[in-house]
Structure formats: C-alpha cells, structure tokens
Symmetry: C2
Subunit: 247 residues, 2 copies
Amino acid sequence: MSEIPLSHPRYASLLTREKVVLGVDEGITGLPGLVAQGRGEAFDYFLGERTTLPGDDAERAAVAMLLLAERPVLSVNGNVAALVPQGMVDLANKIGAPLEVNIFYRTEERVKNIADLLRRSGAKTVYGEDPDAHVPGLDHERAKACRGGVYDADVVLVPLEDGDRCEALVNMGKKVITVDLNPLSRTAKTATVTIVDNAVRALPNMVELVDEMIGLSREELEAVLEGYENEAVLRRSVALMIEHLRG
Amino acid sequence: MSEIPLSHPRYASLLTREKVVLGVDEGITGLPGLVAQGRGEAFDYFLGERTTLPGDDAERAAVAMLLLAERPVLSVNGNVAALVPQGMVDLANKIGAPLEVNIFYRTEERVKNIADLLRRSGAKTVYGEDPDAHVPGLDHERAKACRGGVYDADVVLVPLEDGDRCEALVNMGKKVITVDLNPLSRTAKTATVTIVDNAVRALPNMVELVDEMIGLSREELEAVLEGYENEAVLRRSVALMIEHLRG
C-alpha cells in the first residue's frame, strides 16, 4: 500500500480505511468485506459518526438480553475481526459466552486466522473451525454452525450479519442481536435487537454497559427489555439520518 | 473467490460487487477503491439505484460543456476502469477527447494495466504513463499529470474523484465535471458540474446524450449550460434521498 499523504484533509478517515485493508493482507477480511465496510462508512456518515440515543438504547437492550440468556453466543465474521476483535473477546469474557467464527465467503484458512486472532486476544472458547451442524434454510457453506455454539444458542450476537442468515437464525427461534448501520436493511428489520451504530463504537460501549448492568436483578433486566421497541429504534435512526441530510 | 449461492436474495447486487473485486485481481482497482465502491453503493441505495431527474440534468450540462470545450480530457481511475471502461472510451471517441489515467494510490504497474485496458477497449490517446507536469497544491504523487492531457485541459471529466484533487483542478481554472453519488461530498460541492449518479449508468447515458446533442449549435449548447445550476442539482439530489428514507 502507498502512504496516505499527511496533507490530505481526510487523513483520519483514510487511515481507518487502511486498517480494514490490513485485515485483507492478514487473511482475516475478504475482499467483498471491504465493499461492505464502505457501505457502512456511508451510513455512519449519515448518522454523524457517533453513537446516537437510539443506538445506545439498543445497546442497553442487547446487554440486558445477553445477561438474561441461558446460552449466549457471539458470532464473529471477517469485518468484525478486523475492526473490533478485542471488543468481542472482552464482551464474551465478561458475560461468560463462547465466540464462533462465521464468515460469508468461507475458507478454512480465513476461519483459522480469525480464530487464532481471537485466541491471541484472550478468548476462552472459540467455535467455528469444526462445524458439526447446519442452520436450516441456508445454502450448504453458509449454513455451517457448531453445537455448543451458535447452533445451540438461545441468544446470538451477530454483528454486520447478512439478512439471509439473520432471518434463518430468527426462524430457528433464537433471539438475534445485530449491529447494522443501515436501519432499512433486511438484517435490521429481521433482528430482535438492531444496534444502528458502528461496531467500533458499539462493542466497547457494550463492554462498559455490562459493568454497569451486571448488578441488576433479573426483574430489572427484564424491565429494560420490556421498555424496548426495535421498530421504534429503527424509525428514530432513520429520522436522525434525515435530520443530518437536511443540516 | 467463493461462489455466491444462487439462492441468495441479494444475488444481483453481490454479483456487481464481485465485478469490482475482479478489478483488484486484474491489477486495476486498488483495495481502498473497494471501500470507496461500498460507499457509493450505499448512496446509490438512497437514490433508488436509478438515474434521477437532477442526475440527468447534470449529464446534459456535462455533455454540453464537453462539446463546447477546446481541449476536453477524460480522467480514469481504478474504480472507473473496473466499472465502465467501455463507456469512458466511447465518450472519449465520440467527442474526440484523450483519456488520462490518474489513480489515488499510484503504482506504475496499475497505471499501465488501466491504460492497456483502455487501449484494448478502443481508446485512441491515453495519457498517464509518463507524467511530465504537476497539478499545483497537491502532494507529489497525487499531483502527477500530463501535458496535452489533464494538465492542459480546459474541461476535465473526473468521475469518482477525491475532493482534494477536484479542488486543485478547479483552482487551476479548469471546468471540472465529476460523477459522485454523495451530493454532500467536498468533490460534489467543489466541481463545476456534479453528476449525482452511478458511473455505470451515467457514462452510457452521456454517450447517448452526445448523439442527441451533437447537432446543436454553439448557442443552443450555451443555453443548456446557462439554464444549469449545480447547487440546485445537489439540493434536489439530497431531497430525493430524504424522500427515499421516508418511504
């Protein structure tokens, strides 16, 4: 890669972009993942590149749902691994959940690279290298999942997930939490809790929220969830984007 | 690359994405260009993935400006080469303009690959491999330009251009036409004529518009330009995006 000229006015933004490109060089992010990252950048631009109030509300609901779960599992794909590996591992460790590697364009090498990265970041249990189950309703390669991991989970966090797979997981009866900067996407509309925020901001915020909420009683956590309405959160996110376009 | 499952509901969109990825494999598109492509996809989604009325107005103004130009030049970067090489060459040939390869992350190999692709597509004159001038106000590598090409042009078409370079070309006194799906970008605000449309649709449309407008007199072409207001076109494009978000 060439150097970004320091004189360039968008230096910081281009530097972030280079970090995702680095994920490709390290065999973690797939090339189509770079395009997906660009889509996210554009939606984040509309959001004002900050965690919004509806984003924070969704993150609180997500943490309540994870803390109430019997078998929570955190799914990691190539972009998530390139962007916030430590945030995913910290969240997994704080709530005692395993991680599972699930990538859109599956190659065994890339799955292993991501699993290794998560273990180097302190992950205790990482599924995904030896799938032994299938999510019904998906194409063979995309369906691969692990018993003890995503396949058996009651609550799954699948950030930056494809709409197809999100829907298949919901159809299995799971509660699905996603992180998706496009509030109009199929993933956003299908998930149980949709966090319209950049994963780079959402995960560290959720790790902090676990510290804040871990002392709450079961009833208090359930009250957080009862007060949460995913459709309203999506509508509020769209309204913020319209406001930003107007400004 | 893995195969996209035919059963996937976003098959067509993913296939387009794979075409840009192919540009990387062929040494035409740079990795950061994939991220830029993703950003464009998101803005196109807001536009409804069609050529809008303000987009068509800008394309007409751009064609009038190119037909009135003394020394028009068409600039081609990695993404433009991957997306619409034939459209750029057809437009260049119809208006008798040279092409010039200008890429953000310059490597001589990639410049040569793009120039070869344009020549294979029927281009008559392709500048860019042997730059002999500099655009003032830009970092050394980014400033490279060719006499007889962009450096001496009175009107330049620079689709998917960086804001920095667009501004530097305007500062040289050139009339700058760009294609940019983000009506709020610095490029969009700086250019003389901003086509808020996908390059994949804009270029073939402009080629058709040349056929339609080439018989117009100088006065008629000037009248098209006099009736054109770039700021209004940008405002109308933003309004369409807001409308789409509301719908």
